[in-house]
């Protein structure tokens, strides 16, 4: 009896302690290290940076180097990469919303039996390989790709459409890859919508389109925010899509970070890029979190 009484609080501590320690070590601590490295300077060494703390003559010297951040602000390459990332992510999110909203709306309006199948059809592509889905577009939109060769053999165009290696290709890739993540939260929101409100509106003489703008759209705000954040946040840091579909002119910050790290081996600048990207994303992440905890509370 005594033993089990002792075990109880230990069990609680164990249950919360194991995932807590794991996440502290492998999720929270790494960010602090990134922050630390972003303030050190590059060195030809292994690992390729200089320590911030020096222990010399029994005093700890502390050398903070903000040079990496100054570089990020001075060099137009980084500034334009950030601006382009936000622009590309924003426009792609907008396209996802334009395409995804009617899709979610149609699924939510379909008979309950069909809804699960339609939802599965939308989600299934997002479960297959991300890399492969981006790759699939390479064969379609390149200068000698299927779209261009077909259009040229039909005589519709004389010169190949230049899609590959442009921002347009990146938009297509992001919308294609992230569309299911827009549809899912929108559907979850729209399906819960109180139909009686729309019926009341139409009984009172409101036209369908008008009641859509004044009732459906405002009530699905939560779904729009969640879906948009699920697309926007990963799109800002996207690496695979700009690397494979975008050209040298469609710079995005995820790609720049990758190049700084793997090609230039400049770990401090890569870390500083990551920190600035995080700062940029704090507001969208907070927005998403607030929505998510609210739906969790509503469900429980």
């Amino acid at each position: 009896m005594k033993l089990s009484a002792l075990k109880r609080p230990n069990g609680r501590i164990f249950t919360i302690g194991v995932p807590y320690l794991w996440l502290l070590l492998f999720f929270a601590l790494p960010f602090l290290i990134v922050l630390k490295i972003s303030f050190s300077s590059m060195a030809i060494a292994i690992p390729p940076y200089e320590a911030i703390f020096h222990y010399r003559d029994e005093v700890i010297e502390f050398a903070l180097n903000i040079g990496n951040y100054i570089l990020l602000m001075d060099d137009s390459l980084y500034v334009s990469a950030y601006l382009n990332s936000v622009k590309v992510a924003f426009i792609s999110t907008l396209w996802c919303l334009i395409l995804g909203y009617p899709m979610a709306y149609a699924i939510a309006k379909a008979p309950a039996r069909k809804q699960t199948i339609l939802l599965l059809l939308v989600m299934l592509p997002s479960w297959t390989s991300f890399l492969i889905r981006v790759y699939a577009w390479m064969g379609l939109i390149s200068d000698t790709g299927l779209i261009n060769t077909t259009l040229m053999s039909l005589g519709i165009i004389d010169d190949p459409l230049r899609i590959m290696n442009t921002n347009t290709a990146v938009y297509i890739g992001i919308v294609y890859a992230y569309l299911p993540f827009m549809v899912l939260p929108l559907y979850a929101n729209l399906v819960k919508l109180d139909r009686s409100l729309l019926e009341a509106a139409s009984d009172l003489g409101s036209r369908t389109l008008h009641s859509f703008w004044t009732i459906t759209l405002p009530l699905s705000k939560g779904g729009i925010i969640a879906g948009s954040m699920l697309v926007f946040i990963p799109a800002v840091g996207e690496f695979v899509i700009p690397e494979l579909l975008g050209g040298p002119n469609s710079l995005m910050i995820g790609k720049v970070l990758w190049q700084e790290f793997f090609n230039n081996r400049d770990w401090p600048v890569a870390s500083a890029l990551a920190i600035v990207m995080l700062l940029l994303l704090i507001i969208p992440i907070a927005l998403f979190h607030r929505y998510q905890s609210r739906t969790m509370e509503a469900n429980s």
Partner: protein, 273 residues
């Protein structure tokens, strides 16, 4: 009425947009011609060639092993976190845990990958481990981000199940451990299975985080695919892509089916009551 027509058309346009590129890729993987845009008749030779490629076969086994161990760890971590999120009293520790566990869902992969790599480098410096990056470091990285997805799946199931059964078990003298394994686990098994499968397919598919955290001897399949895809489209990669699409969607379909069936059952049970 007209608006309904519009959204239905958009739904089919959207589905066509989602499936057509992959369908074309699958068709072209059977193309006999070496030129990717010229159709030279049906052939399965690229599949035969795939099987001869040792680098690809090695990578497949590395990826499968990492995905297996990662999804197991992710289920353990994710379930514990989900249990804390749904069954524990509100506290500061619970709040920070639920924030930390779901954060990887929206974290750009390059940041997660970079931060974990820097951690491993620091750990090697301070405690001498890991001496070399490889399967273990990728396993840690994948377990961490997959646990987030498992936690979401399992916690939504934990919210649904009837808590009075657990309470009854505790009242009748079961220890919390007994009540969890004998009462709670059987009720959430479908969620555990679909969480495991989801984690498995996520780990199998990850390129960015694996690229940061892996070492010389642990090249995963997406890393091999990526390095050849960078050079352009090739029929052999089309064949590999077809197999990956098939395998991953099969795993995903099973995961969906398991979750869907259990949801249906519990709905039926609620309706009976």
């Amino acid at each position: 009425m007209r608006k309904l027509g519009f959204s239905t058309i958009m739904l089919w346009v959207g589905l066509l947009f989602l499936y057509l590129p992959m369908l074309i890729l699958v068709i072209y993987s059977f193309n006999a011609s070496k030129l990717v845009t010229v159709w030279g008749g049906w052939s399965g030779k690229w599949y035969a060639e795939l099987l001869k490629d040792e680098q690809i076969i090695d990578a497949v086994f590395t990826s499968l092993a990492i995905a297996f161990y990662s999804s197991c760890m992710a289920v353990i971590l994710g379930t514990m976190a989900a249990f804390v999120m749904t069954r524990f009293r509100h506290s500061w520790a619970k709040m920070t845990l639920s924030n930390m566990i779901t954060a990887p869902l929206v974290m750009p992969e390059v940041i997660t990958g970079l931060s974990l790599l820097l951690l491993f480098v620091h750990m090697a410096d301070l405690i001498g481990w890991p001496t070399e990056r490889g399967m273990t470091t990728v396993w840690i990285a994948h377990s961490t981000f997959c646990a987030a997805y498992v936690a979401v799946v399992v916690s939504s199931r934990l919210r649904e199940v009837d808590r009075s059964v657990e309470e009854a078990a505790l009242d009748l003298g079961a220890t919390p451990l007994q009540s969890f394994f004998l009462v709670t686990v059987p009720m959430i098994t479908p969620a555990l299975i679909s969480g495991w499968l989801l984690a498995f397919s996520l780990s199998l598919d990850d390129l960015v985080i694996a690229s940061f955290t892996s070492g010389p001897g642990s090249t995963t399949l997406p890393m091999v695919v990526f390095s050849s895809v960078r050079l352009g489209v090739s029929p052999k990669i089309n064949a590999l892509a077809t197999l990956i699409i098939l395998a991953v969607s099969l795993v995903a379909l099973i995961a969906w089916y398991v979750a869907h069936r259990s949801q249906k059952r519990s709905m039926a049970r609620i309706n009976e009551e």
